[in-house]
Symmetry: C2
Subunit: 149 residues, 2 copies
DNA sequence: TCTATTTGGTTCCATATCTAAATTTTTCGC
DNA sequence: GCGAAAAATTTAGATATGGAACCAAATAGA
């Protein structure tokens, strides 16, 4: 027999996460240098913190986006001079993306700009408490990421 | 003096939340009845769980969207017969939105369809653990929601 | 080796959202 | 009553993203 549980706990969890994500993105988008969009910052920030080279396909996997979407965003980042591109000498089909000095500066400007908000949030929420939450979120993200498509 | 902290904890927190939100929405969108979109389900689910009437402006505030965006989505929900609309007898400028039987059915179909995923997630993550996380998320959501615009 | 398949990337098109601003109608404070 | 504010709609347009078709290069296998 069917047994619809309709888990209110899961609904609460994802409702809160969805709301937080939405609200934070609103704040973040206000902090970006003019001309830079959220999708662009996400990739720029990812490359900046990883501090290495990434191929478009790797980025597509990291962000769970299609190759076309990544191509689109990388084209814009390149037009703004925020990234460098070089061939992959081991695989002529591929290319490697790295962040430029201008890209680092733009990224840092954005991060500095939201820093007050982040700092205040951490102060209110508590660093220890926050730190204890992250593993849960990471596990959840990994499980979701491994679901069959 | 300026003291850029560049809080890696906050970066981790919002990175994970963003990834979770994105991944979950992918799964959810696959579970929706054909023709129903994510933005429509979000509103439908909101009205269904609240089990009352809402004005477009209230919905716009709940979801942090513009009135235009809500009008757009409500028009589509109405065209599909998922919601009812009636005048607000106390304020002729306003109107009240409620969910229809067809809307409830469609919403329940969607929820039933993701139920296996949700159930499995809760089993893996642990109901108690999840329950202990929610207050943190709710607080964070409230703080973000109260930030100056 | 030759062929079939897979993979990295790009392009093009469709569509989902959403914002912003202008507009209409109604309400409300004074 | 009047002017300001609020509810809802309309319109125009920006953005992001998926999906499919396509090319070129790599790779597996017979």
């Amino acid at each position: 027999m069917s047994k619809p549980i309709n888990d209110p706990l899961a609904v609460s969890l994802f409702s809160e996460i969805s709301a937080i994500d939405h609200l934070f993105k609103i704040q973040l988008s206000k902090s970006l240098p003019i001309g830079m969009k959220l999708s662009q910052f996400a990739i720029l920030n990812h490359i900046a913190t990883l501090d290495g080279e990434k191929t478009p396909v790797q980025l597509a996997r990291s962000f769970n986006l299609t190759k076309g979407a990544i191509t689109n965003t990388l084209t814009k980042l390149s037009a703004m001079g925020y990234i460098h591109t070089r061939p992959d000498w081991d695989d002529a089909r591929s290319k490697l993306i790295s962040i430029s000095t201008a890209g680092k500066n733009a990224r840092n400007r954005a991060v500095d700009s939201i820093e007050p908000i982040l700092g205040n949030l951490m102060k209110v929420m508590g660093a220890e408490k926050t730190k204890s939450i992250i593993p849960f979120l990471r596990d959840l993200r990994i499980i979701l990421n491994n679901l069959e498509n």
